[in-house]
């Protein structure tokens, strides 16, 4: 017990009672709160939790078109967890997310800071323009980028300008993943930019003005004003960014078909592939794999939540 207590004390740097806790001073609003979350709780219950529970139930059966379902317990979980391909796909998904998410957020933050400085007219034009890639469907973007990566495509033309031999972008194990990450960033940076712009516009100008009077440069203002005040929004962008990126299916499906040698086999591509494989029990196996992917995504998100704490409201 003593050990446990000392651990806990070490974990929280503030001594209890040293700082008056604002939350404790607020009264509870049980009824109002329940009424406010009720529609969401009910809808999620019917359209997410019920199908989820049903999927978990189904994953303990062997389902085949030819035979009656047979209860097998956690057997499929064992199969998936022992499959090297499954873990490899998780690794690919993570690498893809690491390529796409931080890069996308940095570009969006720079772009949003830039749009903020523009005149009203030009800013309006830019707000619409940056969002346009999101309007194009992933299918069309994939086709277009496949063209650009061809041996005689635009990208290799640029390489030839610096006297570099053409690269078979989508056919080389080390370049395929970065190559599909580029359209991934391109498709997503519009919404990220608008989200960051909306958040940036909420930071009062007076903060920056006084920092500039104190002689803070652009990077110091970014480090000490912008980023701390954007913490809540950044947490959202990292969590949703990782969750969506790891689940990317369309780009590898259309551009590389998971290859070469599995270099772009993301988890959902792996699941999709095991589903369309005509082996018996393909349904149960892919269902189980997607439920395990859910656990992995949840775990990654818990890590991000821990890294960026943002539970406090800002005292204005």
């Amino acid at each position: 017990m003593a050990l446990l207590d000392s651990n806990r004390a070490a974990a929280s740097p503030k001594a209890p009672g040293a700082v008056p806790r604002r939350v404790g001073a607020r009264r509870q609003d049980n009824l109002t709160a329940y009424l406010m979350i009720a529609p969401m709780v009910v809808l999620l219950g019917v359209f997410v939790m019920w199908p989820l529970a049903y999927s978990v139930y189904l994953s303990t059966f062997e389902i085949s078109f030819y035979k009656a379902p047979k209860f097998v317990g956690a057997q499929f979980y064992k199969y998936v967890l022992e499959s090297a391909d499954f873990w490899h796909s998780i690794l690919i998904g993570l690498s893809y997310a690491l390529l796409v998410v931080p890069t996308g957020i940095v570009i969006a933050l720079l772009l949003a800071s830039f749009i903020k400085t523009l005149s009203k007219r030009v800013a309006a034009f830019m707000k619409v323009t940056v969002y346009l890639p999101a309007v194009v469907s992933t299918v069309i973007a994939s086709v277009l980028f496949t063209f650009m990566y061809q041996d005689a495509g635009v990208v290799n033309w640029f390489l030839s300008l610096i006297n570099h031999a053409p690269i078979a972008w989508l056919n080389s194990p080390q370049w395929a993943l970065p190559a599909i990450a580029v359209p991934g960033i391109w498709l997503g940076f519009g919404i990220t930019t608008l989200i960051l712009l909306a958040a940036l516009l909420d930071i009062p100008d007076s903060y920056y003005e006084s920092a500039m009077l104190d002689g803070a440069n652009f990077f110091q203002r970014l480090r000490y004003i912008t980023i701390p005040l954007l913490k809540n929004v950044l947490l959202y962008l990292f969590v949703t960014g990782f969750t969506l990126a790891i689940q990317m299916l369309d780009l590898p499906l259309i551009m590389t078909n998971g290859g070469p040698t599995g270099a772009t086999t993301t988890p959902n591509f792996y699941i999709f592939n095991s589903f369309r494989e005509l082996t018996p029990y393909a349904t149960s196996y892919s269902l189980t794999a997607s439920l395990l992917l859910f656990v992995v995504l949840g775990a990654i998100s818990i890590v991000i939540f821990r890294l960026i704490r943002s539970d406090k409201a800002v005292d204005g």
């Binding site: 709160a33 523009l118 069309i140 973007a141 929004v233 409201a313």
Partner: protein, 273 residues
């Protein structure tokens, strides 16, 4: 001032550069709509068509299935967006600003769906909505996606940033929580509502797999379902697909043009000073 001119030229160049890199693919899509069936995917890459033909565009515009799909999808997307903003912003306010019993449990319950891969519940969701007798209705397209963990999470993060002083001032004046939410938080949510609202609208507009599973009634055919027919039944007609995609993106661009103006300086903080 030379420094000012330099800076201006620099930012003008940056605007042009970004616009070109973003608009190029869109221009390609619109121009590919003028190409023949096999011309679109021809290698090496070609930007302009051999011959400008209007036939793809006119054929689609004359097609009543297309017009109906556009209208049905647009109406559905608007209803979907409004409903999801109502449901998710209420929950977001409760999680950001109220203390209640079981808050942690309900928070995990509401945020968890964000991590569920679509594949994990796609087939069982279909079973559930068919048990509820919702197949072939507008409801099956709209209702299941209204509660969105991601959207609620976004709005909650946004509401966490609202100064406590604003809320306290209103409560000292005798407002209850509902009044604070309706009169203080909602009026100042225009920017975040536009940002997530457009995302909801697009999610509905671009939905492909779900409508294919749940809608067989031709009068409810959704726009992506319609465009999908160019890739299967009619044998990969890329020219038609590009023309159709270009036309289908117009309502969204129009909405963006109208609503971008709300993403501006927040009034709440500047108004307080």
């Amino acid at each position: 001032m030379p420094v000012g001119t330099f800076r201006r030229a620099g930012s003008a160049m940056l605007v042009v550069l970004i616009a070109v890199s973003v608009l190029f693919p869109l221009a390609w899509m619109a121009i590919a709509g003028f190409k023949g069936k096999d011309e679109v995917l021809r290698s090496p890459f070609q930007f302009f068509p051999d011959m400008w033909r209007w036939s793809n565009y006119t054929a689609i515009l004359k097609d009543h299935t297309f017009t109906r799909a556009m209208i049905v999808t647009f109406v559905g997307a608007l209803i979907f967006t409004v409903l999801s903003l109502v449901v998710n912003s209420m929950a977001a306010y409760a999680f950001a600003r109220l203390e209640f019993r079981g808050k942690r449990f309900w928070w995990v319950y509401c945020i968890m769906p964000m991590f569920i891969p679509t594949m994990a519940i796609l087939l069982t969701s279909f079973v559930v909505v068919s048990k509820l007798g919702m197949l072939n209705t507008m409801a099956v397209l709209i209702i299941p996606g209204v509660a969105s963990a991601a959207q609620m999470f976004f709005l909650r993060q946004y509401y966490l940033n609202f100064p406590i002083a604003v809320e306290e001032a209103a409560m000292i004046d005798g407002a209850n929580r509902w009044q604070v939410f309706l009169r203080v938080f909602l009026p100042q949510s225009a920017a975040p509502f536009v940002v997530v609202g457009i995302a909801s609208y697009l999610a509905y507009w671009n939905a492909y797999v779900w409508p294919i599973l749940t809608i067989t009634d031709p009068s409810l055919t959704q726009i992506m379902q319609f465009l999908g027919t160019f890739r299967s039944d009619r044998g990969n007609d890329w020219g038609m697909l590009m023309a159709g995609s270009t036309l289908a993106s117009l309502p969204t661009v129009l909405l963006l043009l109208i609503f971008q103006r709300y993403i501006v300086n927040g009034v709440r903080i500047s108004g307080m000073k």
